[in-house]
């Protein structure tokens, strides 16, 4: 009886393992398929961007639509983050008599890391989801096919123009967020001490080198590429009607945010290796 019971339970385990196996394989296969699809989709950008027609009018339209409308959100967030960093760190620095280092600390952390990453995450939330939803809706209503049957390459018209706009706007937005964040930090300093703007700004400028500025701004172009290409990829491959559009929009934000943080980790390591 016991042997029979053990056999039964073993069979049950085998059955459940057999049932789980295809599910695991399915997930892995799906993951590989999506990664491959995103890679091929991304690589297609580089030859396409150099081939005419260039659709500069569309790029300009997207710069305005995606970029200028992100200014208020990015600016307010930058100001508040700068203010909070200064408010939080000043008491500790003061305790050690090092509060004069506050401008340098805020400047380096903002220019190297906080500015690029915060701006990228904000833009990912606003722009990547927007692109995903817009292209997704175009896909499910056959508008992308309509472009294709007109003999026009929809990748060039819809994807290249948007990704290019994201690449161009990201460094500009980051530079703006850095400046506003540093101003926010000064507001916090001015409230609690008598440091003048001139002294604060001199300390900021003296503390920064090209090794802080160049990698900080250069990586924003890579973040822009990620934001644009992920949004476009999700929208371009949306399926399943309005549900698919919603899914494309959500996945675009999640995936682009994750990729930004992951890429940042690699780029920080690379920057430290190049400029020790």
């Amino acid at each position: 009886m016991r042997i029979q019971a053990e056999e039964t339970s073993l069979n049950a385990m085998n059955t459940s393992a057999n049932q789980e196996q295809p599910r695991r394989q399915g997930f892995f296969a799906r993951f590989l398929e999506k990664t491959g699809s995103l890679t091929v989709f991304s690589l297609r950008f580089f030859p396409s961007v150099f081939v005419p027609p260039y659709e500069l009018g569309e790029v300009r339209r997207h710069l305005d639509d995606l970029g200028s409308k992100s200014i208020p959100l990015a600016g307010i967030t930058g100001f508040i983050v700068g203010l909070i960093i200064a408010m939080q760190t000043r008491p500790t620095l003061f305790r050690f008599g090092a509060d004069s280092f506050l401008p340098a600390m805020v400047a380096i952390s903002f220019v190297r890391e906080l500015g690029p990453v915060i701006t990228a995450l904000i833009v990912a939330g606003r722009v990547s989801s927007g692109i995903g939803a817009e292209l997704g809706s175009m896909r499910v209503t056959e508008q992308i096919e309509a472009i294709e049957v007109s003999g026009i390459d929809p990748y060039k018209f819809l994807v290249v123009t948007r990704v290019l706009a994201c690449i161009l706007l990201q460094p500009l937005l980051t530079a703006m967020v850095n400046a506003i964040g540093l101003f926010g930090a000064y507001v916090a300093v001015a409230i609690e001490s008598s440091m003048s703007w001139q002294l604060y700004w001199d300390s900021v400028v003296q503390s920064l080198t090209f090794a802080d500025l160049i990698p900080g701004l250069a990586k924003t172009a890579i973040f822009g590429f990620i934001i644009g290409i992920v949004g476009c990829h999700q929208g371009f491959h949306a399926e399943g009607g309005t549900v698919g559009v919603g899914r494309a929009s959500t996945t675009a934000v999640v995936l682009s945010s994750m990729l930004i943080i992951f890429t940042d980790m690699i780029l920080v390591k690379l920057t430290v290796w190049i400029w020790p």
Binding site: T141, E142, A146, S150, G151
Partner: protein
């Protein structure tokens, strides 16, 4: 002379066979209608002809060129000689009616602003919608969208027109208006057309030749008169529904 020739097309999605050994020929300057129930694979057939979907096997010859074997650039060049009316018209949401019509034209031919405007207005007059030139697609009714879609498809002077369910979602009066419009445009421009539809009334107005797609196979091809005489149950079901 055959302008469109589909030979032994097979297509399956996720193991489910949609088209099985489908072959059809459409002569230059004639109109064919493919009838079939919803989900029979009619739109898939049309999308294979224009190169939007690759078949698992078979060929789709347009003017002697096999769409299945062509490269992206060659397909794009071939598509410039074809027009396609989508089931939901597929007008670009972010563009006005004028911009919708200008979009394919500007990218295919170099025209002055005046010539472009002329072509757009002429095309809209043909479909009776010149007053809607500045409207956005969201401001148009279903029938108006179909008309604008038709004008957009015809603005580049295609030789071949493909219609995907041209009367679906329209009331019977508008359906008939669209069907007669298609017929008049067909005669005016000597188009070679293929329409996929489940609307027998529309097929009767526009088509010289009819084929019935049933269970993935293209059965019972012929003129409307010959099909009307058929005793086959599938064929009869389409005629009875009118």
């Amino acid at each position: 002379m055959a302008l469109v020739e589909v030979q032994n097309i097979w297509k399956a999605f996720d193991g489910h066979s949609v088209l099985r050994n489908v072959s059809m020929v459409v002569e230059k300057g004639t109109a064919a209608a493919v009838l079939g129930k919803s989900g029979a694979g009619k739109s898939v057939l049309l999308k294979i002809i224009i190169g939007l979907i690759k078949p698992d096997a078979g060929s789709a010859m347009i003017d002697g060129k096999d769409v299945v074997a062509l490269r992206r650039k060659e397909i794009n060049a071939l598509r410039k000689t074809m027009g396609y009316l989508f089931q939901g018209a597929a007008l670009y949401d972010s563009m006005s009616v004028r911009e919708n019509l200008a979009f394919p034209l500007e990218r295919q031919i170099t025209l002055t602003g005046e010539e472009l405007e002329d072509r757009i207005v002429t095309q809209l007059k043909l479909v009776g919608l010149e007053s809607a030139i500045n409207k956005m697609p969201s401001e148009l009714s279903g029938g108006m969208k179909k008309r604008v879609g038709l004008a957009r498809a015809l603005i580049t002077n295609p030789r071949i027109m493909l219609y995907d369910e041209p009367t679906t979602g329209l009331d019977p009066i508008t359906s008939r208006e669209i069907s007669y419009l298609m017929r008049s445009l067909q005669e005016r421009y000597q188009l070679t057309s293929i329409a996929v539809t489940h609307d027998m009334q529309c097929a009767k107005i526009i088509a010289d030749k009819v084929a019935i797609l049933h269970d993935g196979c293209l059965e019972h091809q012929g003129t409307l008169e010959t099909l009307e005489q058929s005793q086959d149950e599938t064929v009869r079901s389409f005629f009875v529904s009118v």
